[in-house]
């Protein structure tokens, strides 16, 4: 019975709950068991069993008296970047190891308001800075694919991606600054959607790079992503960059098809260094969309090459400013010292990991007197050119298709230097800088049996069209593999 419960994806489970074929309590218990069965992956930082059981019981009441809400009774996991009231929220950092928020993030509150059940908090790279989950203070998460080889789940939402792929969460939240939802989704053979900047409120999400950070779902299917984002998105007065635009019900767009739609294929995304198997599946994906009636149009995004260098100025600059709040005074860990400055330096030196320190240092340098124009202002100018590249292309096409990552997952612990690690996000960063919505979905396996992700990028606020197109690609690809490390 447990295996049958775990076989249901989010949309199917939601339907079975509403038809009273299953109860939220049995579904939630199956997932709690699954968390314990897959605990060696290290996806969860905190499991809230009692709360999950109570929420499931509440949901079962609503399911019986027919007042069920859109996500009634579905057990999900939350990336540890979201503040959850009375539940420890660490952003995978030692400096927040004992932080218990007194308030709830808007996105998670939206999910609870729609009936979802929390299972626990999911590991990520420290402050979402990383692409392999190896910067997490409590150690990396293991990808459930080729489990014995200990592959990276990607990052920063590595715990979220691993949990969904391992069936220890029916769905999960993530945050994406330069690829932190899409890259781990690609590495773990699941779907990850980064909405348009402004679609989901940033209020109550631990801030990394505020002009880029955006929350989104990690799920098994495109329909599941639509159902999750329906609840997560929405205008919020508490986030000054929140978009006051109503998002249509994404579930209405699943079967719209793509006949007559124009798909752009940017020539800059098939460069040296990209794996052969990924190129093969990229070409297959282009063929599938053509077969379904889309028009394939070669396009150029000439400043693509400069997206990563611009990102590695802008994101650290904003991070250095955002992370100034960890001063050992208002919350977080404190190292005792005799003077205030020494207290700051010891607290921060001891509380932050190496990657976070590197980024704070880079950010502080590029914002410092004498270097601001040469680095920060320059990067902001290049950011405009990157955004204009997309604007020009969207005059000619409806969607852009690219690989999600240049390679599939890599082995953990093979120390990569910081710069090589940054190159993981080469295909996801451009859409982040332009604020555009993107989705990564699995389309096949490479020679070693690791999932391959393909990315679709839509114009601003066209999540509905993104879902329609992704759904067509998903149906054509027919990816139905399950990770060997998944709960049975």
């Amino acid at each position: 019975m447990m295996s049958e419960l775990l076989d249901l994806n989010l949309v199917e489970a939601s339907k079975a709950l509403k038809n009273k074929e299953i109860s939220s309590l049995e579904l939630t218990k199956a997932y709690l068991k699954s968390i314990s069965d897959t605990s060696s992956l290290g996806a969860y930082l905190e499991i809230v069993e009692d709360k999950a059981i109570n929420m499931a019981k509440e949901s079962d009441k609503k399911l019986i008296d027919a007042t069920a809400r859109p996500l009634e009774g579905v057990p999900i996991g939350i990336k540890d970047m979201f503040c959850t009231k009375d539940i420890k929220t660490t952003a995978s950092s030692k400096i927040l190891e004992n932080f218990i928020p007194t308030y709830e993030s808007t996105v998670t509150q939206n999910l609870w308001n729609d009936g979802a059940v929390i299972l626990g908090k999911l590991s990520c790279d420290e402050f979402a800075m990383g692409s392999s989950n190896e910067t997490a203070a409590k150690g990396n998460v293991i990808n459930p694919w080729l489990k014995n080889k200990k592959m990276s789940p990607g990052g920063s939402s590595g715990g979220s991606a691993a949990a969904v792929a391992a069936r220890s969460a029916l769905a999960a939240t993530g945050t994406d600054t330069g690829g932190s939802i899409r890259q781990p989704a690609a590495f773990c053979g699941i779907t990850g959607l980064k909405p348009t900047y402004g679609r989901c409120s940033r209020w109550g999400i631990v801030a990394f790079s505020s002009s880029l950070d955006q929350a989104g779902p990690l799920t098994r299917t495109v329909s599941d992503a639509a159902l999750m984002l329906n609840s997560m998105a929405g205008y919020d007065q508490k986030d000054s960059t929140s978009a006051n635009l109503k998002m249509p019900d994404l579930m209405d767009y699943l079967d719209k098809g793509i006949k007559g739609k124009k798909i752009g294929i940017p020539k800059e995304y098939t460069q040296d260094g990209i794996s052969e198997d990924i190129v093969k599946f990229y070409e297959k994906s282009i063929g599938w969309l053509r077969d379904e009636g889309a028009e394939i149009i070669p396009v150029s995004l000439p400043h693509t090459k400069y997206a990563l260098p611009a990102y590695y100025i802008i994101a650290p600059a904003e991070a250095s400013s955002n992370l100034a709040r960890y001063d050992g005074v208002r919350y977080g860990a404190r190292q005792e010292a005799s003077s205030l400055d020494e207290m700051y330096e010891l607290t921060r030196g001891n509380g932050f990991g190496d990657e976070v320190k590197r980024r704070i240092m880079i950010g502080t340098y590029v914002l410092s007197s004498g270097y601001y124009d040469a680095y920060y202002l320059k990067a902001q100018k290049v950011r405009r050119l990157i955004k204009e590249d997309f604007e020009n292309v969207y005059k000619k096409v409806d969607y852009i298709l690219t690989p999600s990552t240049p390679t599939t997952s890599f082995e953990l612990g093979k120390k990569q230097d910081p710069l090589t690690m940054y190159l993981n996000d080469i295909f996801t960063v451009p859409a982040s800088l332009a604020g555009l919505p993107g989705i990564s979905l699995p389309v096949g396996l490479d020679k070693s049996g690791l999932p391959i992700g393909i990315q679709l990028i839509a114009n601003s606020f066209d999540e509905a069209g993104l879902i329609s197109t992704a759904r067509v690609l998903e149906m054509s690809a027919g990816f139905n593999f399950i990770a060997d490390g998944a709960a049975k």
Partner: protein, 100 residues
């Protein structure tokens, strides 16, 4: 991708660490300096781009920051505000002495 130019040296790293209020152990300074040089060398590619007539882009939203009326709407939560403080007293955050 290795960068032969030295953009920052150890004294500069010390200065940035001070500005960042980060205690960096002496043994880590050399490797940190190398990492920073590699990263700064990489981002220096942007010099190739002609941005002479380009305005910097700070926000992609295109909308003006909304204003709200200046009302107190979350007051009287002193306990919650102080709940996570490493040290507090009589409704205040406590820090090491800053004046003699």
């Amino acid at each position: 991708m290795s960068n032969k130019d030295t953009i920052v040296d150890v004294p500069t790293v010390n200065k940035i660490a001070r500005l960042s209020r980060l205690d960096i152990p002496e043994v880590n300074k050399e490797s940190l300096t190398n990492d920073l040089n590699n990263i700064l060398g990489f981002v220096a590619q942007l010099d190739e781009v002609d941005t002479s007539n380009v305005e910097p882009l700070a926000s992609v939203t295109g909308h003006k920051l909304p204003l709200r009326s200046d009302d107190v709407n979350d007051g009287n939560i002193e306990d919650l505000v102080l709940k996570n403080a490493p040290e507090s007293s009589s409704g205040f955050f406590v820090v090491p002495k800053v004046i003699e």
